[in-house]
């Protein structure tokens, strides 16, 4: 489980929550002079929900799912790469109007549209509270959602996640 700050272009604020489930884990032990080095390589998947507000543009809800490849060792740092599929529900951040068939101006209510995108992200985590049963970490993850069909083409939506993660199972 993880959650934290989501910033579209880092500065347009939002929140996110993600869950993770382990699909596959491979633990490798390398013998070193100073002692054995243990490396865990994991495949995880998980759904998530993100919301952010871009003033004068949109309020965006993003339910999605990600496949994550994570590599960690006994050291404090770990890194991961995620590939996901995201559905973006964008509500106009302002009043919406349309012209009806008689040429009259009509006010809309919560006008929205939907976009679909493929997300790619890399993440770096820093483990804290390693002595507890469930490992906790802070992490940073730049993300690009490649919006498919945005104004008839592909457009990259760049964002940044700063989060707190509680591992279901301690990798190492």
């Amino acid at each position: 489980m993880s959650g934290g700050y989501f910033g579209h272009l880092a500065v347009h604020p939002g929140l996110f929550v993600n869950s993770e489930w382990l699909l596959k884990q491979k633990i490798k032990v390398k013998e070193k002079k100073k002692g054995d080095k243990v490396i865990a390589k994991e495949w995880l998947w998980g759904p998530g929900l993100t919301y952010y507000h871009h003033t004068g543009n949109s309020n965006v809800y993003i339910p999605g799912v990600e496949l994550i490849r994570r590599k960690s060792s006994a050291k404090r740092f770990y890194r991961d790469f995620a590939l996901g599929s995201q559905f973006l529900w964008l509500f106009n951040a302002g009043e919406s109007f349309r012209i009806d068939e008689n040429g009259e101006v009509k006010k809309g209510f919560l006008a929205s549209d939907a976009q679909f995108g493929i997300s790619t992200s890399i993440g770096w985590g820093w483990k804290i509270q390693r002595d507890q049963e469930k490992l906790r970490s802070l992490y940073i993850s730049p993300q690009v959602i490649w919006l498919l069909g945005y104004n008839d083409g592909i457009a990259p939506m760049v964002s940044m996640k700063l989060g707190y993660r509680i591992f279901n199972k301690t990798p190492i």
């Binding site: 272009l9 004068g56 809800y61 964008l90 106009n92 302002g94 009043e95 549209d113 069909g149």
Partner: protein, 349 residues
């Protein structure tokens, strides 16, 4: 699993309530107001800023194609205009923060003209039918604005037309740019200024057949025209006062805007905008017109302004040439640019 779901749903509900709280406003509050106009498969944002008490609304048509409205909300000129009037900065279809929302989406000149008309209708309905709407078009906004005013007698809905370095005749614009490259280039070479660059540009310009300018040559003219401004020593300094331009905090995502703007520009070129020439129809325009031009505008030659002044059917028309400006006098002679507009609006409103 259920616990996680509850947390997620609670967060979503809280956020939805926050979103609803930003929905309904009236007039133009101090921090501005955003309207979205939904038309033909697109949501077009219109950002309102300025003096809520004013009876005048200036609808700004940005340049490009590929620009955005809020690019023009910076500097001293924008501050002066906002202190006097309501400024409406719209993002055109496929540009800025405008988004495709439906299947009937298309990018054509004809659709962009319909979009402007829809925005004018919404501004009148929302701000008051008694508001006097002026159009201010810069560069490509001059093409779109002229097209709009000529179409279906839309000029009757507009109090006045302010064309700033506007491209209302693109074939003429290209021919005049070539002529300017040669004239200014040869003069600069005589003075031994920027010899290498001017030699390259003058030789290239002399090789162009002005009766056969294709899209590729048009693009090259545009590219050289911007480059040449950097070679003119008498241009004024870029305005650094007034409203600061905060790109990262703007409602427009600069990355997405840049990519989709370029795509939209290509679509409009494919639609034939490079052949748009409104000079012969300008006699149909009878509303008050103010033409503002930079003397050293190689992108849209001042000759277009002079030609428009001759051809316009308006009884109230004038042209102001800015001696220390290129394509964007609002940035180089900001105060003079703003006071020219204020003076025009006060005389014609």
């Amino acid at each position: 699993m259920r616990g996680k779901l509850n947390i997620t749903l609670a967060c979503a509900l809280a956020l939805m309530l926050f979103q609803l709280s930003a929905c309904y406003r009236t007039g133009v509050p101090e921090k501005g107001r955003t309207l979205f106009v939904r038309i033909a498969g697109a949501d077009l944002p219109v950002y309102l800023h300025g003096n809520d008490a004013s009876e005048v609304v200036i609808l700004l048509l940005h340049g490009g194609p590929g620009g955005n409205g809020l690019e023009y909300r910076s500097g001293t000129y924008a501050e002066t205009l906002e202190s006097n009037y309501i400024m409406a900065y719209m993002d055109q279809r496929g540009q800025g923060a405008a988004r495709k929302t439906g299947g009937d989406y298309e990018v054509t000149m004809s659709q962009l003209i319909d979009d402007v008309d829809a925005v004018v209708k919404v501004l009148k309905a929302e701000l008051g039918q008694d508001k006097k709407i002026y159009l201010l078009g810069h560069s490509w906004g001059g093409t779109l604005g002229t097209g709009y005013l000529l179409h279906d007698n839309h000029q009757t809905k507009i109090q006045g037309w302010i064309e700033a370095d506007g491209a209302h005749d693109i074939p003429l614009l290209n021919r005049m740019a070539i002529q300017m490259f040669i004239e200014h280039g040869e003069a600069a070479l005589k003075r031994n200024e920027h010899v290498e660059k001017w030699t390259e540009i003058v030789n290239w310009a002399k090789s162009v057949d002005v009766d056969q300018i294709d899209d590729e040559t048009g693009g090259k003219i545009n590219s050289y025209a911007y480059e040449v401004e950097g070679l003119i020593d008498s241009l004024g300094k870029q305005d650094e006062g007034g409203i600061p331009y905060r790109m990262l905090y703007s409602p427009v995502d600069p990355i997405i805007s840049s990519i989709t703007g370029r795509r939209t520009s290509n679509k409009l070129v494919a639609d034939g905008i490079e052949d748009l020439a409104y000079t012969s129809q300008l006699n149909q325009l009878t509303l008050p017109v103010l033409l503002l031009w930079g003397k050293y505008d190689f992108v849209v030659s001042p000759e277009l302004g002079r030609s428009a002044l001759t051809h316009l059917g308006s009884s109230v028309k004038s042209m102001i040439l800015f001696d220390h400006s290129g394509h964007s006098p609002m940035n180089t002679e900001a105060e003079a640019f703003a006071s020219a507009i204020v003076s025009f609006v006060e005389k014609t409103k």
